[in-house]
Symmetry: D2
Subunit: 460 residues, 4 copies
């Protein structure tokens, strides 16, 4: 069956125009004007923007922190309801088990039957033995084109030292796999955490004091140097601070294949959110920590100019009441992370596009097109173009609302952006041609999402 989405303002990373999109089954087969004659069925998009479904290259649906686990793929309808049709999940390697085995066991046991968005996977190195680094060469054949390491979190299984980083970078370079790194100096954080706790500084606010921007800067510069030594590309996740962004830009200017993303929360929130009373600050305990207004401004410029090439959410669904409260007497026990996958489109549209900070073309690029390229998913995702998967969002710019957790599908007891306004609404969402959201209501089913393989050599 051929469905025609008619007369919308179709937006790509390079242009926009009023026209029609023709869908045949799961694919986009034409873009044009007055294509009714070759369609079986039409949907009127007049007055609406026709956007590619978003690609969130950084989400956590399986993360555990001191025994607590985030909400999983059973809440991935929230992504779709928010206009994100593809998510890329970080899967922490189990000790003594291969990275691919960890991933695909989880896929079989949980994800495949729960996912309501399409998805791909990042392998996370947790067991830095020789076989782990050797396995990197095989990941692309299994559809995995990225490996993640954490420089932060001293003492936890997923922490990596320089040896692991360097070995991963060398192996990844050969395989065309992109290494993604969470950059914070674990030793300094550990020292500061112990010092603060020993001084009785246990409130959420001290989370920010325990991991200042300089710990992120140091680690970022270190991994850029390690990547340069390994002659490997490297992708810096969740950049929060002006100086960190500049380190990435400088590396790029020197000809190194160094890239980075930021996240919605670092563009919108700041360290003052951590001092909200009554343990509300715990909602904003995420790592790296929230920074300053000056950093926000620098990050908006960075995404506007392409110095950072994607905006993700680092979505991490821990309940405030039942989980964040673990750290009520000690901020170091608060599970790190906050939910956000549902609000990426709305927030970026309202505070980025409508304020003139970024154009609609640039928005599409940061929201979908370049994340798909980064992940090796651009063979089918991230763009309204002929041959692409029919992942399409109809966005109605004339509606507006206030973000509230009441209306959320993410399964968490709070919203990171509670009370922020959203200009426009997600009216309809198609996932590979299937209508998943209609008039703001999610109508898809568990299992509608499927695994999308990432292709290697995406950033070489």
């Amino acid at each position: 069956m051929r469905t025609l989405i008619k007369n919308g303002m179709i937006v790509t990373a390079v242009d926009e125009f009023i026209g029609d999109v023709l869908i045949d089954g799961e694919k986009i087969v034409a873009v044009g004007e007055r294509l009714d004659s070759i369609a079986d069925h039409t949907i009127d998009a007049q007055g609406k923007y026709v956007l590619p479904g978003g690609v969130d290259q950084h989400v956590h649906y399986s993360f555990e922190f001191k025994g607590e686990r985030v909400r999983g793929f059973e809440t991935s309808n929230a992504a779709v309801a928010g206009g994100t049709t593809t998510v890329v999940e970080f899967v922490n390697q189990e000790q003594g088990k291969g990275m691919a085995d960890t991933i695909f066991d989880m896929d079989k046991n949980e994800v495949a039957r729960q996912a309501m968005a399409d998805y791909s996977y990042h392998a996370v190195v947790c067991d830095p033995v020789d076989t782990t680094f050797e396995e990197i060469a095989d990941l692309p054949s299994k559809g995995i084109s990225t490996v993640k390491l954490f420089m932060a979190y001293k003492g936890m299984a997923f922490h990596s030292d320089d040896e692991a980083l360097y070995k991963a970078l060398r192996a990844a370079k050969e395989a065309g796999v992109t290494v993604m790194v969470h950059c914070e100096n674990a030793d300094v954080i550990d020292f500061l955490q112990k010092k603060l706790i020993s001084e009785g500084k246990t409130d959420p606010y001290y989370h920010a004091e325990s991991r200042p921007a300089m710990v992120e800067l140091e680690a970022t510069q270190r991994v850029i140097n390690l990547a340069a030594m390994a002659e490997a590309p490297v992708y810096i996740v969740h950049v929060t601070a002006e100086d960190v962004m500049k380190s990435i830009r400088n590396a790029k200017n020197e000809g190194l294949p160094v890239y980075g993303e930021t996240c919605v929360q670092y563009l919108m929130l700041d360290e003052s959110d951590l001092s909200k009373p009554d343990f509300e600050g715990a909602k904003y305990v995420l790592s790296p920590a929230l920074r300053t207004k000056a950093d926000q401004n620098a990050l908006w410029k960075a995404v506007g100019n392409g110095w950072l090439n994607a905006i993700s959410t680092d979505h991490c669904g821990f309940d405030w009441a039942s989980q964040k409260h673990m750290g009520v007497d000690d901020f170091t026990n608060i599970p790190n992370g906050a939910p956000g996958v549902e609000n990426r489109l709305g927030i970026l549209w309202t505070y980025g596009v409508n304020t003139g900070k970024i154009s609609r073309q640039r928005f599409v690029d940061l929201f979908a097109t370049t994340p798909a390229k980064n992940m090796g998913l651009d063979h089918c995702k991230g763009h309204i173009g002929v041959g692409m998967d029919a992942d399409i969002v109809l966005y109605d710019p004339n509606e507006s609302s206030i973000i509230s957790n009441e209306n959320s599908l993410h399964g968490v007891d709070y919203s990171t952006f509670e009370g922020y306004k959203q200009e426009g609404k997600v009216d309809k969402v198609f996932l590979r041609g299937k209508l998943m959201v209609d008039d703001e209501e999610f109508i898809g089913e568990k299992g509608d999402g499927k695994f999308i393989h990432g292709e290697p050599f995406a950033l070489c």
Copy 2:
């Protein structure tokens, strides 16, 4: 009539895919797969690339140097034959006459009936009186969105001093007009020219010694500072040297709206070409002068990374025998400039795309999409997209040839790229839907090209 270009590899600045382009009259009306049913007529493009017609934002069809005039729009078929369907011409203001009057008198008298490519105009400030700067405010209403000034060429009418530059920048900023600047320090060049000639150093090679990269660097940094003071965007034309490119990049990094292009010759040729014997070096006397291999490498990186955003030709058709020889005893009398508009696609494809220096997406961006944006022409030019002018090149990658002036249409007695190979050939070219080149042969007519208005505020 609706014409379908079928089964080509359609390339845009953001993607590529095998599909069809549907043309209705002068416009592209659809892009898709298997659109035969809605077409009246089909052209097979299998095995060929379907590219947007090129936009050359920097050509000279009316330039005069010490009384000698370049070949005019009667040779603009060369542009089209080389895949460039739109050119933007610099028109030097006549003394005592308005810029727009100079332009549109020339348009009426010559260009409108001769042009075989679509065209737009840059106004060039030559008479720096108050009324000239006041006129800038009116240019956009006449379809002129750029003003050019020359910092080089001391003593010539088109030379501008800092006062003229600053006044133009201030006026342009208000009007949304982009100031383009030829950056070289005129005083130093003048000193060095006189010194070299007085020492009997009259050969073409000394052209390069008389205007080293530092004169370009100085002027570029100066105009960036002047633009910053005027809070105006500025566009640096024909960047030749690594340090100049870095100045532009640094300014951009500081948040200034500073942009630049390079030209095909600076990517391909170097100062050694100027020392060819028997006055052959005169063919390469153009300004700024050719530089080094190291600069070439830096410029390729710059266009690959977007640090410079367009590649133009600075096409300037002076005959070697009858015009360049004016300077046989004194290189300062050699008319400056060289032809190139016909070879931009072929050279960039061969030495850029096929060597892996730039992707096909990046090629399209530098060749057509961003030049159109820079010039305010993206309302109809630079992109294969719905609603755009049907300016389309079918490029056959399987043919190859050696560039020779014998096969050229540019009306000049030499080719700048004589003997260079070209991988691929321009098979067909459509201009607003009209077939202008078929099987490598130009079949259009004088007057087929029309004036395209540039929209203001393109780079603000």
Copy 3:
């Protein structure tokens, strides 16, 4: 006769220690402990600092602005009373006359019989004909080792364009002469002055708006580039702004012989001084204009770290009542400049040394030792060392006072630093062994100062 200054804290650019300085005639012949036995006469300096007499490399005792002339060498006792025993005067070349002739005619007619401090001269290019640039080669033989050019002041005789700058730099390089440059873009200032006046903005405050820091930055970067092209050293006078300082530092880091000074007023005052009511702001009309507190901080760091190598005064004695009031209806008619030679030591000691911004060693370096080197005067000036001229200041750190014009000798009707405190006082000053100041009272005579020749190749 051998005079011993006993038991003072002797301060040099490299160390300090309690000891004695032995003077024989005009020279220092020994530094040591308990040298009484070889002295004819002793002066007790216990509890006092023994400093080298200051070298102010930038004063104006002959400057004219729109017909008004500054106070001359008949007021140079103020310098000595303030601890500065050597000044270097800028002499504007007369039209049609050689630079050296202009200088030594003035020397014979006025300076030689009036000077109460030792002095040397800078030649200022005002008549940019060939013979002027040729004369540069002869200046060192006459004891002149510096040439000054002004980039500011469009339309005045002493304004220089790029051609003059470049010619001077080339000639100076050969002769070992240092080119000093007043860096401001004259065209932009001229535009802004006219614009402000036409808008009725005539108050002294608009002086600052008419010449923002960017005009200084542009001109500084330009002359650094011109000097690099001429392969010549260049000295940037009166640096006022952080970015300008950084341009000089960057050039130095790239290996270029680029140097700069700042002045006392730029370390202490800011643009708010220009808005003092009742035309008091006119007292602070000097060029470049006063800047911001942030610039002050940057300049203090610059002198502390050696990024700028001297602190001078740009002393310029125009009366407020009789001369500055020329511009009461038009700030562009206010003679530019302010007096300061008398307060350099006191201010730098109080606000630099005593606040910890600079050490005493660094103070001596900036106040005397390096200025002497810059000027080629270190064969006899700038240092308490064996063989040096016995130019010595005894500074009593235990006294303190408030600066007031009442106590001033500079012959101007106001003090730039009126009301500022001074910690310490100049107790005694020796000029070539002669006691010129005793217990704060000037006891020298006109003609006590003599011409000191500058040696070439000081900064090569």
Copy 4:
């Protein structure tokens, strides 16, 4: 008794002049002209340079590497014979023992009775327990003002991780102790060493491949960041590469108290020395490794401009035959280090001063004056000035020789600079007034050297 060194060319960091130095006992009591009348005894220095005795802030007389120990203080006559009268020794903390106890036990047992040069100590953190970091606060009271950590040498006792570095920096800042760091990334070196050895690449040359400049750059940038976080000064020892130097300069430009030295061998030798045949390359196995000619040039500029502030030797006396040969089958077993303390003056004079790379003032500064300041020893060392220790070298510029191990006193079986020429010779050396070298012959005795306490807060 008062000794007068007469008529030499006395050189300080700020000036030079022909004059006399008067010594009374251990101290310099006067500097001047014709001081015979107050002297008991005179030494003629006509035609010679009178230099301050050198301060070598980086020597190893107690270092052990895989069980092998360097030549000790019983060879410190070599330092004095080479014009260096003060050395600062690194003492590796014994496990389970305090740093000061380790130092002063060694002092009592060995050094005090063997030293022939004056000396001070650096404490080296090897046992990173809490009490070690707490002890830093007490070091200044014992005359120790510096603490050293090694980032290189994974698996050895003296290797430190980021935690130790950061703790040391925090503690040191409070105590006014300067942290000195050997910067190389241990993990990458370890990886590359194992890889090279596993590939059969066992020759000395592979030492350089196993620790490229990038490992030094990474570690330097890391420790600069750690120091910035601790708000502590940091001193980078033995800088070898241009980029490392620039990192230090950039940090300084940003206002951070970051300093560095280089060593004679990095100015003179390069990686090609490591490929000398017949295991001769092992003589040049020192860490960081020798670099390129380009790095040498950059380092000469750095010391000439003050971007690095001292030149030391990293003197490390391992025998080639009996000790270096441990690594004949595996370069990782070659004891790291080379002797050099005897040749610092001669090499720097010949290849620095006499080639015009540095002035004599700058030489004195790098050789003696600033090292003394860095170490808190300037209360008595590093300068020919009144009140200073009478550590004086008479250097005869008219002699010249070829450096040969035959004439060496350092107790090692090879000379690092074998065959290099030396212009000038050390004619006489005084240590605190005692003549230790006369006519090139060492005439001092074991025990003549004494411990000099370093004062804290030297670089704050």
